[in-house]
Amino acid sequence: PAPWTPTEERGKRKELTKRAEHIMETLEAEAAARAAEGQELEPFKPGDVLEVRLRVPENRGRETVIKGLCIAKRSRGVGSSFTLRNVARGVPFERRIPLCSPHLLSLRVVRSKRVRRAKLYYLRDKPARMSRA
C-alpha cells in the first residue's frame, strides 16, 4: 500500500506541493535503496584516489578501469554522483559517474589525500601534477 492516501480520505490536508514532495522523497529513497542493494560500494570522500570498474556498453559490455582523484561527491538519492579527475599524458580530464548507474561495478579507495574542502575545483587552476592520481 502507498504511504500516501488519496486526498479525499485525509482528515487534515496539506498543500499539493508538499504532498508531491513527499511522494518524490519516498520514491527516491526506494530507488536509491534498490540501486544500493545491487552494488556494495566502499565509502569514500572527496580527496580519495579511487579505482573504479565500469562496464562500457559501447565496447560490448567489457569492463574498464578508471583511476582518479575524487574531487566532488554529490548526494541526491538516485541522482548521486561523483567526479574523478586525473591527468593522462599531460592532459587533465574529469569524469562524472552516477552512483546508481548499473554500469558502475565496483569502487576501491587506493589512497587518501588530506583536503579541507568538499569540492576540489581549485585543482583546475593549479598545475597538472597536483591532480595526478
Binding site: P1, R13, R19, M24, L27
Partner: protein, 266 residues
C-alpha cells in the same frame, strides 16, 4: 460510505476490452510530482516525470442529446465541501463523488462513455504507449525578446550603444509602412496552457496511482495536468493494446509497477 458505495457500483459496471480503432477513450487528470531518472534494461539513463492520479474519477458524462457533444468530465484531488463553492460541491455531489479540486473534459466517442463515479486508475495507461500531456506552464512574467523568442540580441561590446538585448528593427520602410501583426516582441511569458505531444509512458504503478513519463511535462510540481492518448503518435512506435473504455481499478495487494519494454539498444 455513500460515496464509496456509489463508486464501487460504478466501477463494477466497467468491463474493460481493448481500444477499437477509430474510438477515442477518456484521459485522466493527474498531479505533477517531480522528476527523477532511471536506467532501463539497456543501461541507458531515462529522465522521468512522476504523475500522481489522486482519485481520478468521472464526474459527468456529456452526451449529444443533452449537451450536443460527447465528452467525459473527469476530476481529481479533493476539496473540503465547506471550502468549495456551493455550485462546485453540488455538481460533484450530484455525481456521487467527493468534491474535486480540478475538473477537465475529454472528448470521447459515444462507445467510450462511462457512468459518473467510475474511477480511472493508473492502469488506464499502458507502459510503452504515447500520451499527450497538457498543463499550465510555469509563469515567467514580463520577459524580453531574447528569452521569450530566442532572439540573438546585439553585440556585447564593439561600441554597441544601449542595444544588447533589444529586438532591433521591427520592419521595412515605407512599404509596408507598418509593423506586422503578431510581430515577436517582449511581453508576458509562461502561465499558459501548453500540450507536450507523444510522451512515452515508461512505468505504471496501479496500486499507488503513479505514472512515470519519459521527459518533461508543463507546469509546477503539485500542479494538475491532463493526460490523454497521443493524438498523432509517431508511426514507428507501435502502441500497445490499451484498456477500453478504462481499466478495472487495482485490487489491494496488486503487483508493483510495470515498466515499458525497452526499445532498440541505443
Amino acid at each position: 460510505e455513500a460515496l464509496r458505495a456509489a463508486r464501487e457500483a460504478a466501477a463494477a459496471q466497467v468491463a474493460p476490452g481493448v481500444l477499437p480503432p477509430g474510438s477515442l477513450r477518456t484521459g485522466a487528470v493527474a498531479v505533477k510530482c517531480g522528476m527523477t531518472a532511471e536506467w532501463d534494461a539497456h543501461g541507458a539513463r531515462v529522465p522521468l516525470t512522476v504523475l500522481w492520479l489522486d482519485r481520478c474519477q468521472v464526474v459527468q458524462a456529456k452526451t449529444a442529446e443533452r449537451e450536443g457533444y460527447t465528452a467525459l468530465q473527469v476530476g481529481a484531488g479533493a476539496k473540503r465541501a465547506k471550502r468549495a463553492r456551493r455550485a462546485q460541491a453540488g455538481h460533484c455531489h450530484a455525481a456521487g463523488v467527493g468534491v474535486k479540486r480540478h475538473l477537465a473534459e475529454f472528448r470521447v466517442t459515444p462507445d467510450a462513455l462511462l457512468p459518473p463515479g467510475t474511477p480511472i486508475p493508473a492502469s488506464h495507461f499502458v507502459p510503452g504507449q504515447l500520451v499527450d500531456v497538457a498543463g499550465r506552464t510555469i509563469g515567467k512574467g514580463f520577459q524580453g525578446v531574447m528569452k521569450r523568442h530566442g532572439f540573438k540580441g546585439g553585440q556585447a561590446s564593439h561600441g554597441a550603444s544601449k542595444s544588447h538585448r533589444i529586438h532591433g528593427s521591427t520592419g521595412a520602410c515605407q512599404d509596408p509602412g507598418k509593423v506586422w501583426k503578431g510581430k515577436k516582441m517582449a511581453g508576458h511569458m509562461g502561465n499558459a496552457r501548453r500540450t507536450v505531444h507523444s510522451v512515452q509512458v515508461y512505468k505504471v504503478d496501479p496500486g499507488r496511482g503513479l505514472l512515470w513519463l519519459r521527459g518533461a511535462v508543463p507546469g509546477h510540481k503539485g500542479a494538475f495536468v491532463e493526460v490523454r492518448d497521443a493524438v498523432r503518435p509517431r508511426r514507428q512506435f507501435s502502441q500497445p493494446d490499451r484498456p477500453f473504455p478504462t481499466a478495472a481499478p487495482a485490487p489491494d495487494g496488486d503487483a508493483g509497477p510495470r515498466v515499458a519494454p525497452a526499445g532498440p539498444n541505443p
